[in-house]
């Protein structure tokens, strides 16, 4: 059957002809999800570097590599969606400062080159020099290239690396805010759409980004440690869970503020939005995002993490606590993905006439389909494995040259 006819049968009420089929599909859902993970992972790394949270040291390098792997993939959903990747360079050649979307290229380039690559470079420089001097292995050639020919690892030189890294992280925090705040800004500034048009959206996006980034790093850290058959640092896990709880509380409060404000303001769109929430988005918003993705993890983390009381409100053995942390982190990932879905897809399900609802018919194949989106979600994991192989982030890989 013609897809349009199939959708038309599920349209309820009055929908303008150009709103029946959604223009922004699954790829635009995973784009904010991925950039959120970048910003979140980076903010976690900055907790170590700038705010000296020593317990989180084991996740520092892994967070940076994760941020890099996801950042490289971040623009790909957009390029696949627009369909002309060969034209993408034009936004750099003819920059248009009046277009928020066009400025993304510069925000992205700034974040990639000036913040992330530089911070990783300064942090790994000593190790790169030592690894490049290994007598065997093909990797030493890559490492030699990455040193950019600077082999000075004197104490004074390493001291400069440390302060430069710290300085870049300080610049990096507002940059990470800019990167993901920008994504929220794009949605928040669509003034014709009452579901998106809110000044709170960039901030809500930012905090949900931090939540998703910390949850992801909790999973990656545990997975990385278990796969290497090493002992899990429970102090680190507890600290991650603690920050995850704090970020989740902030995120949830902001989302509730947005929700209550909309209800209280009760603009003319409130009827169609309440139909949307209680109907088309009930599963993804109420069940997945609010209940499973937020309330359950809040409850678990609040009870067992040391966020509210040293040792947790309920004292559980390490293994069980770890298991519950993982469960919460997985639920949070599902919840944050649902958040992106509810914003992007939800915002297009109701008509601008405020009198009708349409449906989203997901494709399986094709550039905008489920398989393409799944590939884009798997790609950062592959990149991360390559990055980990090239630049091992684990403590035992760190070199301790004499005199340093």
């Amino acid at each position: 059957m013609d897809p349009l006819q199939e959708i038309l049968r599920q349209v309820v009420g009055y929908v303008y002809p150009n709103e029946i089929e959604l223009h922004w599909g699954l790829l635009i859902v995973i784009y904010p999800y991925i950039t959120g993970l970048v910003a979140g992972a980076f903010i976690l790394a900055s907790l170590v570097r700038v705010f000296n949270v020593r317990e989180l040291q084991p996740t520092y390098r892994l967070s940076l590599l994760t941020a890099l792997a996801y950042l490289i993939v971040a623009p790909l959903p957009l390029l696949a969606h627009l369909g002309h990747p060969e034209r993408s360079y034009e936004i750099f050649i003819t920059p248009n400062p009046h277009s928020a979307m066009a400025m993304f290229g510069f925000v992205y380039a700034w974040y990639l080159t000036v913040v992330l690559l530089l911070e990783i470079w300064f942090d790994y420089r000593k190790d790169l020099v030592v690894w490049s001097q290994q007598p065997h292995g093909w990797r030493r050639w890559v490492h030699r290239l990455l040193t950019l020919g600077v082999t000075d690892i004197s104490a004074q030189s390493l001291g400069f690396d440390r302060s430069a890294g710290r300085f870049i992280t300080i610049i990096g925090i507002p940059s990470a805010f800019l990167l993901h705040g920008y994504v929220g800004f794009i949605f928040g500034s669509v003034k014709a759409n009452p579901w998106w048009s809110s000044v709170l959206i960039p901030i809500v996006f930012l905090f949900s980004a931090i939540v998703s980034g910390i949850a992801l790093m909790l999973l990656f850290y545990l997975l990385g440690t278990l796969l290497r058959s090493k002992a899990v640092d429970m102090a680190c896990m507890d600290k991650l869970a603690m920050f995850l709880f704090y970020a989740l509380v902030l995120d949830f409060s902001l989302e509730m503020l947005d929700f209550i404000h909309r209800l209280y303001e009760a603009e003319e769109s409130i009827h169609i939005l309440s139909l949307l929430v209680s109907g088309r988005l009930f599963l993804s918003l109420v069940i997945l995002q609010a209940f499973l993705g937020t309330l359950i993890p809040l409850l678990i983390l609040g009870l067992i993490s040391p966020a509210l009381r040293r040792g947790g409100m309920v004292n559980l053995p390490d293994e069980l606590r770890r298991l519950l942390y993982v469960g919460s982190a997985v639920l949070i990932q599902i919840g944050i993905f649902s958040t992106r879905w509810n914003v992007v897809i939800g915002g297009q399900l109701f008509s601008k006439s405020l009198r009708g609802l349409t449906v989203y018919k997901m494709q399986l194949l094709g550039m905008e389909g489920l398989f393409a989106a799944a590939a884009l979600l798997i790609l950062p994991l592959v990149l991360l494995l390559v990055l980990i192989a090239m630049l091992p982030p684990w403590a035992e890989a760190e070199t301790h040259p004499t005199g340093a």
């Binding site: 034009e90 750099f92 050649i93 420089r125 000075d152 400069f160």
Partner: protein
């Protein structure tokens, strides 16, 4: 300066000069001279051949038809919408004859039923409306008028009629709620139908004590809905069931 900083500055300088060089070669020559576009594009567009003549050109040779058209309901539809681009015809009328659409497929482009069109816009169901007959055998496209007065409301208010046909109000004639002057059929915008003006009008069937069949939903007029008229909250052409 620490050696690593020097090396980084060199790398960034190479990247920046690469960008500047790329911009030099890739930027279209006239880009940005008069705005965020290629100025030469305007010239390229103006060089394209002119294909349309405009209705003033038509009036020079066909004043009688233009005069009729100017007063009719199609006054905002330019001649070339139906007859196609006319510049070549104006240059040499006998060499370039303009087509006039006579087949049935053309008029329904605007007048075929589509729920997104405004109510009252003349719309027909091409399959059911005088099948096989060309539109122009009954309607003069230069001065389109229905050949006779519409027989019922559906002729113009198809969307509402379709909605009402599947609603609990299907049994109610339109005129039960809308007092409609006879002249509305010939001058729809000058003589408009009425709408119910009191809550008691709906109350005749829906009030607690109304003498209507008991399946009809009841409300207490004294407490329900405050000072609002019923149709300000309930859409009478498709009233909700609960």
């Amino acid at each position: 300066m620490p050696p690593q900083l020097t090396r980084l500055l060199i790398v960034f300088a190479v990247l920046a000069s690469g960008l500047v060089a790329a911009r030099h070669f890739l930027l279209p020559k006239t880009f940005g001279e008069s705005g965020h576009y290629r100025t030469a594009a305007v010239e390229a567009i103006t060089k394209q051949p002119v294909r349309y003549a405009g209705r003033e050109a038509c009036a020079l040779c066909h004043p009688d038809i233009v005069e009729i058209h100017r007063k009719g309901n199609h006054q905002t539809v330019a001649c070339e919408v139906c007859h196609g681009p006319a510049a070549a015809h104006v240059e040499s009328p006998s060499d370039h004859q303009l087509p006039a659409p006579r087949e049935r497929g053309y008029c329904p482009l605007c007048h075929g039923y589509d729920p997104s069109r405004p109510t009252g816009f003349p719309q027909i169901e091409p399959v059911a409306h005088n099948p096989l007959k060309p539109c122009i055998s009954c309607h003069n496209p230069h001065e389109p008028r229905p050949p006779h007065v519409p027989e019922d409301c559906r002729a113009c208010h198809g969307q509402i009629a379709r909605m009402k046909a599947v609603s609990p109000h299907v049994q109610l004639a339109c005129t039960r709620c809308h007092e409609t002057p006879e002249r509305h059929k010939t001058a729809p915008r000058e003589a408009r139908p009425d709408k119910p003006r009191t809550r008691e009008f709906c109350g005749a069937c829906h009030a607690q004590g109304a003498s209507s069949p008991k399946e009809i939903p009841r409300i207490d007029l004294a407490t329900h809905g405050g000072r609002f008229l019923c149709w300000q909250c309930h859409y009478p052409h498709q009233p909700e069931l609960n």
